[in-house]
């Protein structure tokens, strides 16, 4: 299978979704993006990313319960799949390698 690239926002969303499980749905993910990463995004961006990741097979979803705030509508909760977990891990490993190289370099800033 062709290796898919993971975008920065996708990466963040997957990390948060994995961490928030089983309460990972669009609204809670957006809240975390704001509080942890100081990223302000519109809801539709989160939805787009979630849908894209699901299509790539990195996330899977089930319908959760509804609350009165939601006007009786169910929420869609996301879980990391095996493929998603592997993809994230490989991204992490590559990053770590790059960071290690980077930090070992000496820079002369005047």
């Amino acid at each position: 299978m062709e290796r898919e690239n993971i975008g920065e926002l996708e990466e963040l969303v997957m990390l948060i979704a994995g961490w928030l499980h089983p309460e990972a749905y669009a609204v809670s993910i957006r809240k975390e993006l704001l509080s942890k990463m100081d990223r302000k995004v519109v809801l539709s961006s989160v939805h787009t990313v979630l849908n894209r990741l699901e299509k790539k097979g990195y996330l899977s979803s089930t319908f959760g319960e509804s609350t009165p705030e939601r006007g009786g509508k169910r929420k869609r909760c996301f879980t990391i799949t095996q493929a998603g977990y592997e993809a994230l891990k490989s991204v992490h490993a590559r990053r770590e390698q790059l960071y290690a190289n980077f930090l070992n370099t000496n820079f002369n800033f005047n």
């Binding site: 519109v42 939805h47 787009t48 849908n51 939601r70 509508k73």
Partner: protein
Amino acid sequence: MHSPPSWFQKMLSWFISQELQEEISGDLNETYHELRQRKGKLAANVYFLIEVISFSRMYHRGRQYQSSNTLSMIQNYIKVALRNLLNNRLTSSINIAGLGVGLACVIVIFLYLTVETSYDKFHEDGKNIYRLQHAYGFINAQAAPVYEREYADVVSSLRINPFIRNRRIHISETEAYTEDILMAEDNFFTFFSFPIVSGDPANCLSDKYSLVISQTMARKYYGSDSPIGKTVEIDDPRGDRTTLTITGVFEDVPYHSHLQFDLVMPFALAEDDPRMAGMLKSWPNDWIGTYLKLEEGADAETLAGEYLNIWQKYVDPSDSALIEFMPLEDLYLESSHLVSDYADHGDKDQVRMIMAIAIVILLIACVNFINLSTAGANKRSKEVGLRKTLGAQRKQLIRQFLIESTLLTFIAFVVALCLVVVSIPYINRAADINLYHALSKLDVIIISICGILFLTTLGTSIYPALVLSSFKPARALRPGSHSNSTSGLLRRGLVVGQFAISVALIIAALIIYDQMNFIQSKELGFDVDKVVKFQFGSTNQLQNNWNMVKNQLAQQPGVQLVANTRHLPGDNAYYWGYKFDGVEHAEHYGDSWRGFYLGENMMETIGLEVTMGRPFDASKPMDSAAFVLNESGWKRAIDEYGEDWKEPIGKTIEYWTASSGEWAMVKRGVVIGVVKDFHHHSLQRPIEPIIMHLVKSSNIVVKTTGASAIDVIRFAESNWSQWGSPVDFNYEFVQDTFDAHYTTERRFNTFILVFCMIAIGIACLGLYGLSVYATQQRIKEIGVRKTLGASVPTLLKMLSFDFLKLVGIAIITAIPVATYFMDQWLDNFAYRIELSVWHVFISALAAVVIAQITISYNTLKAAMANPTKVLRSE
């Protein structure tokens, strides 16, 4: 529990599919709830709207699952429309060119209207401000205080002395400028809303010796230094200088103000000027711009009517007087009829005329469009038949043709925009107007242009869409049946209408052109060619040195005459009282006559023709109190004062004025001559009875032989300071100044002519397009006729006759309408041409010729075509 507004569900359902709706609307609900609690209703609604709109990106995701062919049908329509466009390059380009030029004219005219109607709308209480005016834009100095004192509806009043012209301002010992200064009462900057940049709007004019200047003047005088507190000296009428302190700087007056000024000094300074001080108390003197601010809802008409009571109470119980209260916001467009005014003016009639032309041009372009689309309908009938057979509903077909016209209109619109952008600089220069000013009202313009575009699209597309979609498939697909007589009738009707408009425009253009020529070649009764005028600035100074100046100038080669005068042809002569000896006048100061003030040698210099008696002779001391009438004046004297005045020479006249505040006799003398009538006004106004007499003044007028004019001007310049003139050297050619009276009018008429041509051109485009179709439809008939022996001329006659019949009907309908309106238009002129049969005949001939030329290419081509080619396929 807060739930989001209900429109959001609806909006969301446009964007996204059923499947995704539950979770998304749930998420949105939750977010809304939270936002509402944290930020309140308004902020929540705004954020929420942004959120909902941003979901539109999910559109495709949503639609993927739905099967709707609307979108693909629209794509198909556009594709077919483009193919059609390319297949019929000729009609498409006629359509686009015609409509594009039409729209461009409309947009330009719209920009012009935006500029012209934007005047004086920026004052805070502008709706309640009125200017007092009658024949002039100014009235006496007394009206304002009386109104403010005696009428409760008057909130405040403002008097201005519009422009002390050519006053010398000394910034320092070495630096001085000649400027026009506005004199205004101290509430000027609170009464109007001209923004003050530095200084106190309420008090900057309260000191009698203060001066408020514009930002431009501040830069000119002091560069980047602050002008506040600096002092300048201005020449005052006593020959002395008055020191003024600069107390304020105002923002440059915007273009859309009727009052344009750069320097304002206090009205109170008028008391220092003995002449003005006298006039301040005078009632008959009209010289003060007067504005009143009324209570909200006060009745201006009634207050204007009250002027009669005021006049009778303070001036003369038996006299009557009439003024009008002109709303400030209408002043610019509504006051162009005034005999004299300091304000800038636009002309309402011109605005209306230009607007009418814009509508006509757009109408013609739309008619073209409709005609060409319906004429081409037969070509499309097969497509329509096929679509209908395959199940297309009429609604869908209408939609298709609407989309097609919209596309064409849109392309035309883009063409129009390009034309406008390219042509604006030229129009600005030619019309002496700044259309870019209109951009300050971009919102209005965008909305209005969208409106124009919408109406145009509607106008051009509805009828063709209905016609095209109405074809019966069975008939449309049967070979050889094409007749469509009802739409043909309408088409012919539209052609007649369109051509009638064109013929009317040709008549109008011809008459306008004729009238312009007439005005230009009219015998003026005087000759100011090669006459140069110098404004000396000070009457006393000039009179002291007059003999020296005159002799020095007279000795210059090429100088024919040196004269001195107050008035020149085109100037506005004053009305004062003239008492004719032995006549019982109703007033003690005699009757009101227009006095034309001349000086030494002036009658000879401008070549007035003396028909009785003799001209003024400066060497005779008695002549300083002598009078000369023009022929109209002589006639008036005979009519009003009796047969005695048939022999006017030697009869005595007294000259009375009230310029010192009270009526007083200035001089008394005899009539020494009568001159032939000459145009002392511009030709827009009739010659009036005038009385000429000698008045000392500050203008030097020199008649030269043309070639030497430049040398004379150079000589005057080098001697200017030696002669003791207090103002900067200046000169003007009197002919140019006189001609300047017509430039606006001539320019406007040229514009009308150009727009008429454009309209006619567009109409011809349409006629050309129609002739293409008409000949195409009859091509086989022509082929058969030709094989049976018809000659080319017979065929040409037959084909042309069809069109010329329509043109004939158009001419007959156009003539009465056009002649009626042009007769009205000509009535605006004091001297006008009379309509003649020739105007109509030439216009009709021109219309026929233009129409014939337009269609002849196609008819000729059809008549000359080889019948074997045409009939080959039968």
